[in-house]
């Protein structure tokens, strides 16, 4: 394994690991605060039980998220020192805001997790809301730094140095809004559907549990709304990528040759040698429309770029298809859920529906991972799009693969332990929370 691949793999693994915890850290505080709010308003035991049971699990996720995030702050430099040397002064600003937001989040979380009996109800609830808002803000700031790598702004590049740095312009680059929106919604979708899925699974085992039934419905409300908004955010993203990162769009779509109008291809496998997508279903003109809002627009293909500046088409394309496929399934599920809730409430109690929801548990997170692969692999070979190549930014220390192997072992081990701990918590829910054993 060469050092560039090792460094990229280590970064990918570290980000891929952290993002799961980051999503949970953004969403769960809001879910818990919502549940606590319902408890304060209605006085029903089940709501406070849910908030408390969730907070037990969240404490573990949050801590692992915090440490894996600290690791990332170091790894940016350890793996890509040349990148941080140039990027630090330009995108340090969102990172410093992120630091602030994360600080507030960590403090408020301490108060929320340990202050159940030490604060008034509303103060406690407020600390939960602060955790959620600070979590979402820190997510937005970090994504804005990533957006800058995709759409660099706020500096001039001369002789391999950045001059005329404007950190505000860098932070509010052309991609920050669409990426931040897309990520926050994705966090809510992935986490809410996973929570609903786990509780649906438990409800199938204990069909009378008010606790699990309430949890499924509460989580699905959040998941459904976010999943229905996501296609709109995706549309904003597509138009942005078409305009500012045409090579990425071409790789996403496996569009080897510039076309006017361009077809949207569903499914299929891109073939770099034949420069075509095999076995896909072509829908004429739709890509032109999605990218530019015009069925006859020209869409740039990879032929407009030198071959050494192509991203890995097959990885970008397949990841994109996975993300879109899952997004569609979850959006439709969300729509059905709202429909059933409004009209055919009985359906929500059927075993089939619960099995389906349980089946969806991991899908949102798979889509999040796939989406990040699209963004990151789709930007290659650049680390700062059009400015600095990843191979020129990577650490010059030989033997990075050993760091990568070690961190892989560590993360695999942690994942296994977390699953084990979570499963232990779930097994004890009925014992520890009165409403979990209560029948409907």
């Amino acid at each position: 394994m060469n050092d560039l691949i090792a460094a990229r793999s280590q970064m990918a693994l570290s980000l891929g690991f952290h993002i799961v915890f980051a999503c949970i850290g953004m969403t769960m505080p809001i879910l818990m605060a919502y549940s606590e709010w319902k408890w304060i308003r209605t006085g029903k035991q089940v709501y406070i039980d849910l908030a408390k049971a969730w907070s037990q699990g969240v404490a573990i996720f949050f801590a692992v998220g915090a440490v894996s995030g600290t690791v990332l702050a170091f790894e940016l430099g350890i793996l890509f020192p040349e990148f941080m040397k140039h990027a630090g002064p330009i995108i340090g600003m969102p990172f410093s805001w992120e630091g602030t937001a994360f600080f507030v989040e960590a403090i408020a979380l301490g108060i929320f997790l340990y202050g159940w009996n030490k604060l008034s109800k509303w103060m406690h609830w407020l600390s939960g809301v602060v955790v959620g808002i600070a979590g979402i803000l820190s997510g937005i700031f970090v994504v804005s730094a990533n957006a800058w790598m995709n759409c660099p702004a706020g500096f001039k590049w001369e002789n391999g140095e950045a001059i005329d740095i404007d950190p505000v312009a860098a932070m509010f680059n052309t991609a920050w809004f669409q990426q931040a929106l897309h990520m926050v919604l994705a966090a809510f979708i992935a986490t809410a559907f996973a929570v609903a899925g786990v509780h649906a699974f438990l409800l199938l085992k204990n069909r009378k549990s008010l606790f699990h039934k309430t949890a499924v419905e509460m989580a699905l409300i959040f998941g459904a709304i976010a999943a229905l908004l996501q296609p709109l955010s995706g549309d904003i993203s597509a138009k942005n990528v078409a305009k500012y990162q045409p090579a990425k769009l071409a790789a996403i779509e496996g569009l080897y040759k510039t076309e006017q109008p361009a077809d949207f291809i569903i499914g299929g496998i891109p073939n770099d040698e034949k420069e075509t997508v095999e076995f896909g279903l072509h829908i004429p003109g739709v890509l032109s429309y999605l990218a530019y809002g015009d069925f006859n627009a020209e869409v740039q293909g990879l032929d407009k770029f030198p071959k050494d500046e192509w991203p890995l088409v097959i990885v970008t394309n397949i990841s994109f298809q996975i993300m879109i496929g899952i997004g569609m399934v979850l959006a439709c599920t969300g729509l059905l859920f709202l429909l059933f809730k409004w009209r055919w409430r009985k359906v929500l109690d059927k075993n089939g529906w619960l099995r389906f929801i349980a089946f969806l548990t991991p899908l949102g997170f798979i889509a999040v991972e796939a989406g990040w692969i699209v963004t990151e692999v789709g930007r290659q070979p650049w680390i700062i799009y059009g400015v600095l190549k990843t191979k020129d930014a990577v650490s010059t220390m030989p033997g990075i693969q050993y760091s990568f192997y070690a961190i892989t072992v560590m993360y695999v081990l942690l994942t296994a332990i977390i699953i084990w701990l979570l499963q232990r918590q779930i097994a004890e829910v009925d014992k520890n929370y009165p409403s979990a054993a209560t029948h409907i």
Binding site: Q56, A59, I60, F62, A63, V64, A66, V67, T70, V71, A73, F74, E75, G77, I78, P81, M84, K85, H86, G88, P89, I90, G92, M93, F95, S96, W97, E98, G99, T100, F103, V104, A106, I107, L109, G110, I111, Y114, G115, K118, L119, I165, D166, P167, V168, S395, T396, M397, P398, G399, I400, S403, I407, M410, L414, I417, L421, R424, E428, N432
Partner: protein
């Protein structure tokens, strides 16, 4: 403007040494305090440990935004010790929450405790090694020579190792004093005894750091005697010891904590005075200072705004957190 940034960076560094240090140290102390100690330590740490460690993130962000060349240089040449620090940080935080949040005791806890304790020792040791490498000036930026010479030798040596030990024992010392206020009766006596032991170890190792420095032609003594601020700081550090002993005999958590905070502040100030404005000494080029590595003014201004707003929010929030949880003690 840049002076304000340097000041905030130093304060974050100090707070990390105190709060993060107490936290790492608690993990070291746990090795000497038995099963009861585990309970006291877990209970004292659980609500605050994450917030305590954010000071490190703050310091890192300030360094990579404000002094990018320092960050790039350290992270390239000190890849190995920094990776070990990272492993320590992940292992420690995870093992701690795994143990604390698991629903009931079981045999896995033994392993969680083991990892928690070992990483509580390893992480500060390698943080100290990293600091040592910044002071020692064996880092070479010339792209030639062996792997060992470029990426191992700058930190793998006697001086760095003694500094690693110093940081470790300092953290344990801070933690022991902090824990005096968290325990009562016989438990408390145990922490007082540990405080005294680690006080002696810390001062002993501190002396050895100076000797090891001489052996590797790092003339710490010479610099020390030339700097009025270093000498003054050292005198204050020493003068605090009798006061500490008074409160060891008449335990009072607030005064003990105040005194250790003061002592650590002056240890760091004395050290800071030796080096300022240098951040990293290099083997065959000019040292990196706060000034020759500073980011452009526009960046520094924005960083300052973010830090200022941040501290306005964080300060009161931190105060509230400690008030809620430390009221009882």
């Amino acid at each position: 403007m840049i002076f304000v940034i340097i000041f905030i960076l130093s304060v974050s560094f100090l707070l990390y040494t105190l709060l993060g240090g107490a936290d790492f140290g608690a993990g070291i102390i746990e090795s000497f305090s038995g099963k009861k100690g585990e309970k006291v330590i877990s209970k004292a740490m659980a609500p605050v440990w994450e917030a305590n460690h954010v000071w490190l993130i703050l310091a890192i962000v300030i360094i990579f935004t404000g002094f990018p060349v320092v960050y790039a240089t350290l992270s390239l040449y000190l890849h190995i010790p920094l990776m070990i620090v990272l492993f320590g940080i992940i292992m420690r935080g995870s093992a701690f929450v795994f143990r604390y949040y698991d629903v009931s005791e079981n045999r896995m806890h033994k392993y969680f405790s083991f990892f928690f304790k070992t990483s509580s020792f390893i992480t500060p040791f390698f943080l100290g090694i990293t600091l040592g490498a910044m002071m020692l000036g064996e880092i070479t930026t010339i792209n030639a020579g062996t792997f060992f010479g470029r990426f191992v030798h700058p930190w793998f040596n006697l001086f760095c190792a003694t500094l690693g030990l110093f940081v470790t024992s300092l953290f344990a010392y801070v933690a022991a004093i902090f824990l005096v206020g968290e325990a009562e009766g016989g438990e408390q006596k145990k922490y007082i005894r540990l405080s005294k032991i680690f006080l002696f170890i810390t001062f002993g190792v501190g002396g050895i750091v100076f000797l090891a420095g001489e052996m590797q032609s790092q003339h710490l003594f010479e610099g020390f005697f030339r700097s009025g601020l270093s000498i003054t700081s050292f005198c204050i550090v020493v003068l605090i010891i009798p006061a500490l002993f008074y409160y060891f005999n008449h335990p009072h958590s607030f005064y003990l904590r105040g005194l250790i905070a003061l002592q650590v502040t002056f240890i760091l100030l004395g050290w800071f005075a030796l080096h300022y404005p240098v951040v990293v000494y290099l083997k065959d080029s000019e040292p990196l200072t706060f000034f020759n590595t500073a980011a452009p003014a526009a960046t520094i201004d924005q960083l300052l705004i973010a830090l200022f707003v941040g501290l306005l929010l964080i300060g009161p929030a931190f105060f509230f957190l400690f008030r809620v949880f430390k009221k009882s003690s």
